[in-house]
Structures are given as structure tokens and as C-alpha cells.
């Protein structure tokens, strides 16, 4: 475990240094900018946490699918339909009921969006990677069309819905002009804890992981892989939808065209780096949040944001390769 961390850090640093040198920037300076930009001040930390929140929830969505042996690449689309549905519902209902109903609507929408992929995988063995990516694109287009037409707020020029009533928004835990921390972060943390406990302490969680770990042995143990696939995809989709609803209710207040900067895609990296426990999604999403926020700071400094994505991609490959090595060496 410790070797894996060391190797990952070394590898990432090497890439960062290399790229930054190419950019005619001092690597030490850039690292400093990155860290300062993400953790250097209360405002920065708050910003990092804000970036991390959707990554956390989306990461949990991908994570639970991974535990069942499934790749849900469709979290992006599930987030969008969840956000869109939540906005539409919450606009019509002020107050706390609006918030709760919005969340539920978002989760249902997300779950429904993952359903076709789950069905096709469970009963037709059609690879869920392709179906979820396809559904992503459909979601992007459908929500885009909706928000440009039927659900658009006619009183504004933006391609967006109206704002959700202030009373329906997710409460802030701490708010000053420079620092904001939202309840949604706590929600995400609770979800992570809940998922970890569910996976470790319930029979259903046990059976889900059995299917992901050894499908054949799971069958011999009386578990139905089809049922588990459906369950995992549904939960995964619901969490993706939840992430979208949370974005609307906590941070954005409305749904608009171009809503997600790719949280769903980053979520795959978050889940892969999390390792074997749902608790791992917490530091993983924090890391991604740091890189995102710090990357913005780097951008101001002249280093393009893309470098953080490259680093993350390489981290994933290195982590996967190390896991492979570990497996073969215990095979003595």
C-alpha cells in the first residue's frame, strides 16, 4: 500500500515537473501555485471543497458500480438529467418540500437514466460502457434542447431555467463573503459513510461485491448476477442524479446549458483512485478537487489547466499497473 502511494506521488511529480518545464515555468513555483491555490487560504479551501462535493457524490456513484464489476461511465448524463428534473420540480415548489422533492426527483431521473444500460448488460450482455456513454450524449442533447425551449425561463436571456426559490436551496453551513461551505458537503460525507457501511455490513452489499469479485463463485453462492447488476446500476444512477440535484439546489440555483464541466468523467478517476473502500472516495475526491481548484490558479499563472488532467490520467494508469504487479507477486 505504501509503495503504491510513493510510486504514484513520484510519478505524478515527474510528469508535473516535465510538463511545467516545457511550459517554461519553474516547477517549484507551479507546485506552490497549485497548493496555494487550492489550500492556501480559507477561501481557497472552501473553493476546493465546493469543487470536491459533486466529485464526491459522482465518485460514489461510479464506485458502487465498480464494486459490482460494472463501469458506469454515464454519470455525466445521469447528473444532467437529475439536475434538470430537480430544477423543474423545485421551481414549482417553494420551501423545504421543494428541496426534498427536487432531490427525490433528481435521484429518480438519474436511476431511470441508468436503467437501460443496466437492463442491456444484465439480460443481453451488452457492454455497459458503450450504452452509458451513448446515454450520456443523449442526455446532453435532450437537456440542452429542453433548457433552450420548454423549460427555459422566458424572462431571461440565458439558456437556463428560472431560479429555484431561495427557501428551497440547500442551506449553507458557513457563509461569509469570501468563504462558503454548503450542507451538501456533509451530505456527501454521510453518503460515503453510508455506502461504506452498507457494503461492509449488509448481506446485499456483500452479495454485490461478490458478483464484482468473482461472478461464478457468486452464482455458486446463490447470488443472481442479473439482479445485482440491476441494483448496482440503479443505485449508481440515482447517486448521479443526486449529484446533479445537489448542484442545482446548493450551488447553482438553476439549470442551464453547459451545466457540468465534466464531473461525471472525472468521477471515474475519483472512483478508481479510491481503492477498495468507499471511505477512499473521500480523499480521492478531495485530491481531484484540489487539482481542479489549483489548476484554475495555475491557469491564471499561465499554465494551462489541462496539465492536471494529464496528471490524473497517468495516476490512474500507474495505480492500475501497480495493482496488477501486486496481484502477480502474491501468486507464488
Amino acid at each position: 500500500m505504501i509503495w503504491r502511494l510513493i510510486a504514484m506521488v513520484v510519478g505524478a511529480c515527474a510528469i508535473l515537473v516535465g510538463a511545467v518545464l516545457v511550459a517554461h515555468q519553474s516547477p517549484v513555483e507551479s507546485l506552490h501555485t497549485l497548493i496555494h491555490g487550492s489550500l492556501g487560504s480559507p477561501a481557497a479551501i472552501a473553493g476546493t471543497l465546493r469543487e470536491a462535493t459533486p466529485l464526491l457524490i459522482c465518485g460514489l456513484a461510479v464506485f458502487i458500480a465498480l464494486r459490482a464489476g460494472l463501469f458506469n461511465i454515464g454519470v455525466e448524463g445521469q447528473l444532467l438529467v437529475g439536475a434538470c428534473t430537480c430544477a423543474v420540480v423545485a421551481i414549482r415548489l417553494p420551501g423545504v418540500p421543494g428541496m426534498i422533492l427536487g432531490v427525490v426527483a433528481g435521484m429518480v431521473a438519474g436511476a431511470l437514466w441508468a436503467l437501460p444500460a443496466g437492463l442491456i448488460k444484465a439480460y443481453r450482455n451488452g457492454h455497459e460502457v458503450i450504452t452509458t456513454i451513448m446515454l450520456n450524449n443523449v442526455a446532453i442533447f435532450i437537456t440542452s434542447a429542453l433548457v433552450a425551449g420548454p423549460i427555459k425561463d422566458k424572462t431571461q436571456a440565458d439558456t437556463a431555467t428560472a431560479y429555484v426559490a431561495a427557501s428551497s436551496r440547500m442551506p449553507w453551513l458557513y457563509r461569509t463573503p469570501t468563504v462558503e461551505v454548503n450542507f451538501s458537503l456533509v451530505l456527501g460525507i454521510l453518503l460515503a459513510i453510508g455506502m461504506a457501511l452498507w457494503l461492509k455490513r449488509t448481506v446485499a452489499g456483500y452479495e454485490l461485491q461478490a458478483v464484482g469479485a468473482n461472478r461464478v463463485a457468486a452464482r455458486f453462492a446463490g447470488v443472481s448476477p442479473q439482479k445485482v447488476t440491476m441494483l448496482a446500476m440503479t443505485i449508481s444512477g440515482a447517486l448521479g442524479g443526486l449529484a446533479g440535484a445537489v448542484q442545482v439546489l446548493a450551488y447553482e440555483g438553476r439549470f442551464y446549458d453547459g451545466f457540468s464541466p465534466g464531473y461525471g468523467f472525472d468521477a471515474l478517476g475519483v472512483a478508481l483512485l479510491a481503492g477498495g473502500s468507499a471511505y477512499g472516495v473521500l480523499p480521492s475526491s478531495l485530491l481531484f478537487g484540489m487539482l481542479s481548484k489549483g489548476g484554475t490558479a495555475l491557469q491564471i499563472d499561465g499554465v494551462p489547466k489541462g496539465i492536471t488532467t494529464v496528471v490524473l490520467g497517468m495516476l490512474i494508469l500507474i495505480a492500475a499497473a501497480i495493482r496488477y504487479r501486486k496481484v502477480t507477486t502474491t501468486d507464488a
Binding site: 510538463a19 516545457v22 511550459a23 463501469f71 461511465i73 437501460p116 444500460a117 437492463l119 442491456i120 443481453r124 450482455n125 451488452g126 457492454h127 460502457v129 458503450i130 450504452t131 456513454i133 451513448m134 446515454l135 450524449n137 443523449v138 442533447f141 435532450i142 440542452s144 434542447a145 433552450a148 425551449g149 468523467f265 471515474l268 478517476g269 478508481l272 499554465v303 494551462p304 489547466k305 489541462g306 496539465i307 492536471t308 488532467t309 494529464v310 496528471v311 490524473l312 490520467g313 497517468m314 490512474i316 494508469l317 492500475a320 499497473a321 496488477y324
Partner: protein
């Protein structure tokens, strides 16, 4: 009418090239979701190389970049046995980040729109010929048969004395060349490189390959169909259809919806190569 045909050809060209690149990879058993990233790298590196080395540099640079990416995919999946999907997605992420980084940093914005113009016809002709060549290759050559066998059952192929890892290496090299051409076509056509300019074409190409049942000619037709819908969308944007205005996004979403339905088995039988993802 002619305009529609020309647009269709233009839009389907990069798709066809990428889809054929997907074929040489997947038909040999390597799941390749990274077509998007390979195209993107090719486009970016090609654009950068063209500034110094002209049109030839653009093509060569693009092909080299895409081939490096595909070789990494081969290394990750065949030597390190990393899950094919993870490798593909990671490579896409790296490509997205790297192209974002490289382009903004290395090229002079003033030169941005000054890229040498390569006649697109070359690409189009290539795109329309390659599927037939690949079809011939798979039917009539030893290499083609071995590719098919490795993708259908690598263990049984091994019994017959064939080395899947080696066959897949060459398959992925071809993937690099083809996706490289696809990426270069994009920059050559528009004359500039923009951030994330592939915008999902790599996935559509993969979808076309799947719709075509992993066969070159049907995949080619699928790409052509997708290109047609894109062209149609451009033509019909704004004009009312059946009395109502269908949002342009619905057209754009069509290829994806069709793929999902096809995978659900509603459009013919499941032709997934049996050895996809296997060692």
C-alpha cells in the same frame, strides 16, 4: 441535394477512418474506448507540427502522436494486463489534458488560423477506400485471418501457434495510423485546432463499429449514416419539419439512441467478437 451529399462525405470521413482504426483494435480483441483521445492527440500534434514542417509534417506528426497513444494502450492492456476500459478512459483523459496544455503553450495564437491547407479530397478518398481494403485484408490474407482468430478466441489461436500479443501489437499500430489520419483530417478541414475539437466523434465511430457488428463494410455504412444525419442537421436547422420545429439536438442525439437500441438486440443479433477483452 448535391450539397447534402458533399456535406455527408465530409462529415463521415473522420468517422470512417476512426472506425476502421477501432476495427483493427477491437476485432483483434482489444477493447478500445480511446479512439477519441487518439484522434485528439493527432489533431493537436499535427497542428503544431504543421507550423514548422508544413502539410507533410502535419500528417506525419499526427500519425506519430496517435500511434504513440495506441502503443501505450497496447502496452497497458497486453503487457500490464490493465483493464481495457480503464486504459482507454485514462488515455482519453491524458489526451484531453495534454492537448489543452500543448496547444495553449506551444503555438503562437497569432498563427492559429494559418495552418497549411491540405486538400481534403485525399482524406475522403482514403476514407472511402480503406474499408474495402480492410475487408479484403480480413478475408484474403493470413494477417487478416489471424486477427480474426485472436479476437474470437485467443486461447484457441494460441493452440494453433499464433501469438495474440504480437498480432494485437500490429493491430494497434494500424489503429494509430488510422485514427491519426482521422485527427489530422479534422484540423486540415477547419484550419485551426480548437480545444476538444473531436467532441465525441471517437465515441460515435466506436458506436458505428458496434452497429456494424464489427465488420468493415457495415461499419462504414453506419458512419456514412451518421455523417448523413449530421449533414441533414446542418441543412435543416431552422426549417420546420412536419409543421413543428424539431430541435437540432434531437438530430444530434439520434446516432446514440440508435446505438443503444442496437445493443439491446433489437437490430439483429449480437456480433461482439467473443474474445474481446480476453487474453
Amino acid at each position: 441535394m448535391l450539397n447534402l451529399l458533399v456535406l455527408t462525405i465530409l462529415f463521415s470521413t473522420p468517422l470512417i477512418l476512426a472506425a476502421m482504426g477501432g476495427y483493427t483494435s477491437e476485432r483483434g480483441g482489444v477493447v478500445n474506448i480511446g479512439l477519441e483521445g487518439m484522434m485528439l492527440m493527432a489533431a493537436c500534434v499535427g497542428a503544431i507540427a504543421s507550423v514548422r514542417f508544413g502539410p507533410v509534417g502535419e500528417v506525419v506528426g499526427g500519425i506519430i502522436a496517435a500511434t504513440i497513444m495506441s502503443s501505450l494502450h497496447w502496452l497497458a492492456t497486453q503487457i500490464y494486463h490493465i483493464d481495457h476500459v480503464i486504459s482507454g478512459m485514462a488515455l482519453n483523459a491524458i489526451a484531453a489534458g495534454a492537448t489543452n496544455f500543448l496547444y495553449l503553450k506551444l503555438s503562437d495564437p497569432a498563427h492559429g488560423s494559418d495552418l497549411p491547407h491540405i486538400p481534403i479530397t485525399i482524406f475522403c478518398i482514403t476514407a472511402f477506400v480503406i474499408p474495402f481494403l480492410i475487408w479484403l485484408y480480413s478475408r484474403q490474407t493470413r494477417g487478416g485471418l489471424r486477427l480474426l482468430s485472436v479476437g474470437s478466441d485467443p486461447d484457441k489461436a494460441r493452440l494453433m501457434g499464433i501469438q495474440p500479443v504480437r498480432v494485437r501489437f500490429f493491430g494497434l499500430l494500424a489503429t494509430g495510423v488510422l485514427t491519426g489520419l482521422a485527427g489530422v483530417e479534422l484540423v486540415a478541414y477547419t484550419g485551426v485546432f480548437t480545444d476538444n475539437m473531436t467532441s465525441g466523434r471517437g465515441y460515435i465511430a466506436l458506436a458505428a463499429l458496434i452497429l456494424g457488428g464489427w465488420r468493415p463494410i457495415p461499419a462504414f455504412l453506419a458512419c456514412f449514416a451518421f455523417g448523413f444525419f449530421s449533414a441533414l442537421r446542418l441543412q435543416l436547422q431552422g426549417t420546420p419539419l412536419f409543421g413543428a420545429q424539431l430541435p437540432s439536438q434531437l438530430w444530434a442525439a439520434l446516432p446514440y439512441i440508435v446505438t443503444v437500441i442496437a445493443l439491446a438486440g433489437l437490430l439483429g443479433r449480437n456480433r461482439t467478437p467473443a474474445g474481446l477483452g480476453k487474453h
